[in-house]
């Protein structure tokens, strides 16, 4: 758990970079710090591992005030991932991943086992990749290595500063999925910086939306999309926030509320979609193809129904817009 208790950072009298920020990252949850450039999100993240100083207030990590901890010890207990992966080109992949265990003085056997476990987690062969150097890997692989390096000493807390920001959209999407998969297994307490709204909605248990060092809203993604606190929040998420919120709902959700259409066996060449896909992807698939329906498959790859644009619209109206208008009236 990471608690920010009225944290303020100012430079001299005039400039306040972080203004009385107060929120908590619950154990095993991902909180995304979101906001425009210069809103203080990276500064806030770097305060946790004391790369930035705190002027007022305190940060409490798993019950200990960060001020009372030795910065070197503290940093070794916190996983740290940065955008450009920060791998060291003079070290092999294995040496890179095992830096913190090495600093902590683990023995060879323990390091070896941990390395193999971590590489299997991201689906890279430890024997093959261990001896390679970072420049021999693709950008996506390097970033995966950056992530497992942060996991190496099994720290309870992780800080991720736009970890997937430098990747192309397709790879980014894949690695985000992969990371969420890993997170379900390792359940770390994660503070995650992003400037990408879609990424924030996808990754976050809760979002902290910042502007000029102040918290504009601290809420779950669906709450924030449905009930923006103020003009800035609703503008930040944009006019299409209803469509954005579709990525929080799956075909399964739609199926439970309004059901699916019947499968017409005559239509053969239609695209198919998995029942756990989110509705935003489903919608873009529907818009991109000529036919007006796609076939929905379940886990067993059986056709269980079809979905059309009208159905997505109907769902959007009932489930999401309904909540939004209710909040505006209230």
């Amino acid at each position: 758990m990471i608690s920010f208790n009225h944290v303020t950072k100012s430079y001299g009298e005039e400039i306040t970079a972080i203004d009385d920020v107060d929120f908590t990252v619950e154990e095993g949850k991902i909180v995304v710090l979101l906001g425009p450039s210069g809103c203080g999100k990276t500064t806030l993240l770097r305060m946790v591992n004391q790369l930035e100083s705190i002027t007022k207030g305190e940060i409490v990590i798993n019950g200990e005030n960060s001020k009372d901890l030795d910065p070197i010890e503290l940093r070794r207990k916190i996983g740290y991932v940065i955008q450009s992966n920060g791998l060291f080109p003079n070290m092999t992949i294995e040496e890179n991943v095992m830096i913190v265990p090495d600093l902590l003085g683990w023995n060879k056997k323990k390091k070896r086992e941990r390395f193999e476990y971590l590489m299997n987690l991201i689906g890279l062969d430890p024997k093959d990749y261990g001896k390679r150097y970072p420049h021999e890997l693709s950008g996506g692989q390097q970033q995966r290595i950056g992530v497992v390096r942060a996991l190496a000493a099994d720290p309870p807390v992780m800080l991720m500063d736009e970890p997937f920001g430098a990747l192309d959209p397709i790879i980014r999407d894949k690695i985000q999925e992969e990371f969420l998969q890993i997170q379900r297994e390792v359940k770390k307490t994660i503070l995650f910086v992003s400037h990408d709204i879609d990424e924030a909605i996808k990754m976050a248990d809760k979002i902290v939306l910042l502007r000029d060092g102040k918290i504009m809203q601290f809420d779950t993604p669906s709450e924030m999309l449905a009930h923006p606190n103020n003009e800035f929040v609703s503008q930040f998420f944009g006019k299409d926030r209803a469509i954005k919120s579709l990525s929080l709902h799956t075909v399964q959700n739609l199926r439970e509320v309004i059901g699916l259409g019947p499968v017409d066996e005559a239509i053969q060449d239609t695209k198919t979609i998995h029942v756990h896909q989110d509705l935003r992807n489903t919608l873009s698939m529907l818009l991109n193809q000529e036919a007006d329906q796609v076939i929905v498959k379940d886990e067993q790859d059986e056709n269980i129904g079809t979905i059309t644009i009208d159905m997505v619209q109907k769902y959007l109206h009932f489930e999401i817009k309904g909540k939004m208008s209710a909040s505006q009236e209230g």
Binding site: N49, L51, P71, I72, E73, L74, R75, R76, Y80, I82, Q83, S84, G86, L87, F88, P89, N90, M91, I99, V100, L103, Y133, P134, H135, E136, R149, L159
Partner: protein, 217 residues
């Protein structure tokens, strides 16, 4: 060609001897210069104010013409009865080597990708661990480039040291000039050039041997 053959027959052993003297003078000077310059360059990365001052002084040293520096050293070293010969030449070469060695060590380490440094600090490396594991290995090509510059430069400057009786290949050239003997001048110059090329090649080999492929590229 016959003249050359006769010249070399008589002088080759002397040329070889002077080349060895030359190489010894330069090697000793570089060795001491490394012992001073590299630790100093590393230290300066942690002290910005001192870095500016020291690099300024080193730059100024390099602008002093070598013949003038030797001239200044004669009265100073005369105080310890070493006015001419090996000692002033050695000291001058050490001074001249400082700029390329300190500056390249300093800039090499300073220019290590800041994100790499950030990652190293963020993972909990102490300053010493960061220097030894990340910064120095990644700055090695730049540091070695400075060493190579210093060596090649010193081989040239050591020629002038012959004027203050430090020996070396400069002896052939100065004698050649005073006797108007082209054979001496040319053989001396070629020997200096070959020595410089060989020294640079050896250092390049060392550099490649100790630099990981990943950084060299």
């Amino acid at each position: 060609m016959d003249n050359w053959a006769r010249f070399l027959e008589v002088n080759s052993s002397r040329i070889l001897e002077l080349t060895i003297d030359h190489a010894i003078l330069v090697s000793l000077a570089i060795f001491v210069a490394l012992l001073i310059g590299i630790p100093l360059g590393i230290y300066l990365t942690t002290n910005q104010y001192l870095a500016d001052t020291v690099l300024q002084i080193a730059s100024i040293t390099l602008t002093i013409p070598s013949i003038a520096l030797f001239g200044v050293m004669i009265p100073i070293f005369s105080l310890i009865n070493q006015g001419i010969g090996f000692v002033p030449a050695f000291v001058a070469l050490v001074l001249y080597s400082q700029l390329p060695i300190i500056r390249n060590t300093y800039t090499g380490i300073k220019n290590v990708n800041p994100e790499m440094r950030d990652a190293a600090i963020g993972m909990g490396m102490k300053t010493r661990q960061r220097l030894l594991r990340v910064e120095i290995p990644n700055a090695l090509p730049v540091i070695m480039a400075g060493v190579r510059t210093a060596v090649v430069m010193n081989i040239g400057i050591a020629v002038i040291a012959a004027y203050i009786g430090a020996g070396g290949l400069g002896v052939l050239i100065t004698q050649g000039i005073s006797r108007n003997d082209n054979y001496l001048i040319i053989s001396g110059s070629i020997a200096v050039a070959i020595l410089a090329i060989i020294a640079d090649a050896i250092l390049l080999l060392i550099q490649k041997r100790f630099t990981k492929k990943a950084i060299a590229e």
